[in-house]
């Protein structure tokens, strides 16, 4: 009944009915205020000249490295959303599962000295284990929790995902204990390489390179291979894809598998850079990665990558750049505020994210 009525009324008329000019004005005022504030803060900070050029350079590199990890996790969110129109809130726990499963292997390898003697082989083994762990949890989630909820209203899968996230975190806490543990890394990863005259930490170089390779690889996969094309078809319209003979279930599972694999890669990279694991380690990166995916345009690979990068940079450079000029005490505490303010700003003017569709409202 509603469907027919919906067809009868042209979209344009609907848009015009709800567009109040006052709201538009307020939005523009807000947007301009934030941009002006940011520019002012930046100019004042640079005028103070307390940061050396190498410090800014370091901050940018840190941001890119952190952003790379966010991007890898965000890709998982983006793909699942594209195919299922669902926020997989538990993706952070998929990431955590990969980290934990590889942790136990890493510990054994470290005790026996294998980790330091054959770092490359050891890292590859750990990577495989992490991917296996993440993929396992991702597939489990899809099968147990999400499969039955394919057609339901938006709120239901979201709540299920939140519940699954809580469940997985606390299962890990029950199994392995609540404390954070040090993750053993091969010694060869300490120190830095000089690339184009810029000293970058080895661990960070690896992170950036691996993330780049993954994103490119994923794009090629989705664009060229048959499975990739099936995924795009299902993302476009599930029912028609199924009518065309595509096994929708299988495509969805594949999506989760790929998302899991990427999360596993992210887990290893995280472990290399930060050298800690704990049962709650996935929660905050998960939320941040999701923010990144939305920021860049959820549903698109380039969007997730861009969003991740941008978020990493904002967190790293933002507080120093925008807030030091205003002499705000403890600017680093407010880095999430900066990130979310930018997110809200972007969503106000481009509701689909930076690279997303421009009219993603009210669909």
């Amino acid at each position: 009944m509603a469907g027919a009525a919906r067809e009868a009324i042209p979209r344009r008329a609907v848009g015009r009915l709800s567009g109040l000019p006052t709201r538009r004005i307020i939005q523009w005022v807000l947007g301009i205020a934030v941009v002006v504030g940011a520019a002012l803060g930046a100019s004042k900070t640079l005028a103070l000249n307390t940061f050396s050029a190498s410090a800014w350079r370091d901050l940018v590199v840190f941001g890119v490295a952190q952003g790379a990890i966010y991007a890898l996790i965000a890709l998982g969110y983006s793909m699942v959303y594209g195919v299922l129109r669902m926020i997989n809130f538990a993706h952070g726990e998929v990431f955590m599962a990969g980290a934990f499963s590889s942790y136990f292997v890493a510990r054994t390898l470290d005790h026996s000295g294998f980790l330091d003697d054959n770092p490359i082989v050891a890292l590859l083994i750990l990577l495989l284990v992490a991917m296996a762990g993440s993929v396992g949890v991702a597939v489990l989630l899809e099968r147990v929790a999400y499969r039955r909820l394919r057609g339901a209203t938006r709120l239901v899968p979201l709540i299920t995902a939140i519940g699954a996230s809580l469940f997985l975190q606390n299962t890990a806490r029950g199994f392995f204990g609540a404390q954070t543990r040090g993750y053993p890394t091969p010694e060869i990863l300490g120190g830095s390489w000089t690339i184009f005259g810029v000293p970058i930490l080895r661990a960070q170089v690896i992170v950036i390179v691996v993330a780049l390779v993954s994103v490119v690889g994923l794009s090629l996969f989705v664009a060229r291979t048959r499975t990739g094309k099936s995924m795009r078809a299902v993302a476009e319209d599930k029912e028609i894809a199924s009518l065309m003979g595509i096994d929708v279930d299988r495509v969805i599972v594949t999506t989760f598998v790929i998302g899991g694999m990427l999360a596993g890669v992210a887990a290893i990279l995280f472990a290399i850079v930060f050298q800690v694991v704990g049962p709650f380690m996935g929660f905050i990166p998960g939320i941040k990665a999701f923010t990144a995916a939305v920021l860049g345009g959820i549903g698109s690979i380039a969007g997730a990558a861009l969003g991740g990068l941008l978020l990493g940079l904002l967190e790293s450079v933002g507080p120093s750049l925008f807030l030091t000029g205003f002499h705000i005490p403890g600017p680093n505490q407010l880095r999430d505020v900066i990130a979310f303010a930018i997110l809200v700003l972007v969503l106000i003017f481009r509701p689909g994210g930076i690279l997303g569709a421009g009219d993603a409202e009210k669909v």
Partner: protein
């Protein structure tokens, strides 16, 4: 028609509510008197005195509550304190033999609650213990955030003593905020902040430092105190920053601090943040040569676990037993017994917990009314008064004298030592490490009074 029905219902409920509220005020007195005095001719009548008495029948165990951080990342702190209390119960019979002793002919059992190192945990644990009329006193909390304005208020409102082995935040014993039934055997952090600033300024000779706190009252209290004292000596705090304890990436923060060119960064936080900062600071070229220092929050075995060799050179401040105190023989026995029963200590405050227990039980011995049938009555207010009159108590953590604002380490000088990793007693590899600096101060001296 429907509307009027609803209105009458609402009115009914309202009236019922008021009636119930009025009635409840009589019933739900909570603590109240719980029994009559056992012996004849005692001066205290448990039925009329404020907060009444804790009464134990013959053979019933004396119940002591503990409200400590026994789970999560800070479990090393709370569990360590619980061990100190358990050793104290063991020592009731005068020797450490892994069999619990008795107090005035009654066994002693523990009711353990978790303070979760948070306001919520402090509130729920304290409410539970306060509502239990058989709890004689409570040892806790581990974290100042669970006590300040929370557990100290709830338990004081019911007349139950709360004595903390590890709360160090100055606010807990500030005259305007102190709760009447609260005490601590831990040092007041004003002292630790003073010692740290003395160490940095005089021993290391640094004049510029930066601080990082983790948004906990404990850490913020220490960095605030450090700033006051350090600037008082003539130093400068170049940057004051804050982190969240769940953060993992500190490199941008450290880069930004490095731009202010401090000679030392003081981060009196908890693990894993301390360990992570120690690791990541090595990757910031601008921080080369900048020293790092933490306090007893960092000083746990997990620091060495997580930081590994990156932690070498990290300074750690913490309380140590006064050298040459009369109880050094006892402390040798105690340390041996601890190692025997529990392995190596995971934090710095187990001795304070041992002392906390003994301070109160000594007071119990003086005020308890023993019935001829073997029953025991402990008047709450009299117990509190007796504890606050503790003078020159020979404890493991120092000579304790409790002053009216709750500090038991106050007039007695507190000995704060500074260690340099990896040589610290909380490192399982070096349990007998010696401090590289120590200073003994009373609270009054620290505050320059």
């Amino acid at each position: 028609m429907r509307k009027s029905r609803w209105l009458t219902m609402v009115a009914l409920v309202g009236v019922l509510t008021l009636v119930a509220a009025a009635c409840s005020k009589d019933n739900g007195g909570g603590g109240g008197s719980t029994g009559s005095s056992g012996a004849s001719g005692s001066a205290i009548d448990c039925d009329t005195v404020q907060f009444g008495c804790v009464v134990y029948g013959p053979g019933e165990p004396i119940r002591v509550g503990t409200l400590l951080a026994i789970s999560g990342d800070v479990a090393t702190l709370g569990v360590d304190s619980v061990h100190g209390v358990e050793l104290a119960i063991d020592h009731l019979d005068g020797k450490f033999d892994a069999t619990p002793g008795q107090l005035l002919g009654h066994d002693v059992t523990l009711q353990q609650e978790d303070d979760l190192c948070s306001k919520e945990g402090g509130q729920s644990g304290a409410t539970k213990l306060a509502a239990d009329p058989t709890i004689a006193f409570v040892i806790g909390t581990s974290c100042s955030s669970a006590a300040l304005g929370v557990a100290d208020t709830i338990l004081s409102d019911k007349g139950t003593i709360l004595i903390s082995p590890s709360n160090t935040a100055a606010g807990l014993t500030a005259p305007s905020q102190h709760q009447p039934f609260y005490l601590r055997t831990a040092q007041n952090d004003a002292i630790q902040a003073k010692v740290v600033s003395d160490f940095v300024f005089t021993k290391l000779g640094f004049t510029k430092a930066a601080t990082i706190h983790d948004e906990s009252p404990y850490a913020a209290g220490l960095t605030g105190g450090f700033k006051t004292f350090f600037e008082g000596l003539g130093g400068t705090v170049t940057d004051e920053e804050a982190i969240t304890s769940t953060d993992t990436d500190f490199k941008p923060l450290l880069t930004s601090i490095a731009q202010t060119h401090p000679q030392l960064i003081y981060l009196p936080d908890f693990n894993p943040a301390c360990a992570l900062i120690a690791i990541q600071a090595q990757d910031i070229p601008d921080l080369k040569g900048v020293a790092l220092m933490g306090s007893d929050g960092c000083g746990a075995s997990t620091f060495f676990d997580q930081a590994g060799s990156a932690g070498d050179g990290f300074y750690l401040s913490g309380p140590i037993a006064s050298p040459g105190s009369t109880t050094s023989a006892l402390s040798d026995e105690y340390n041996a017994a601890y190692k025997d029963q529990f392995g190596s200590p995971t934090a710095d405050f187990n001795a304070n917990a041992f002392d906390a227990f003994n301070v109160v039980t000594d007071a119990i011995k003086t005020v308890a009314i023993q019935g001829s049938d073997g029953s025991l009555s402990i008047p709450r207010v009299a117990l509190k008064d007796a504890v606050f009159q503790t003078v020159d108590f020979a404890g493991l953590s120092g000579t304790l004298t409790c002053i009216s604002t709750g500090d038991c380490q106050a007039p007695g000088a507190v000995n704060i030592g500074v260690y340099q990793a990896p040589d610290a007693p909380v490192n399982p590899a070096t349990p007998d490490a010696k401090p590289i600096f120590n200073e003994q101060l009373t609270l009054a001296e620290a505050l320059g009074q």
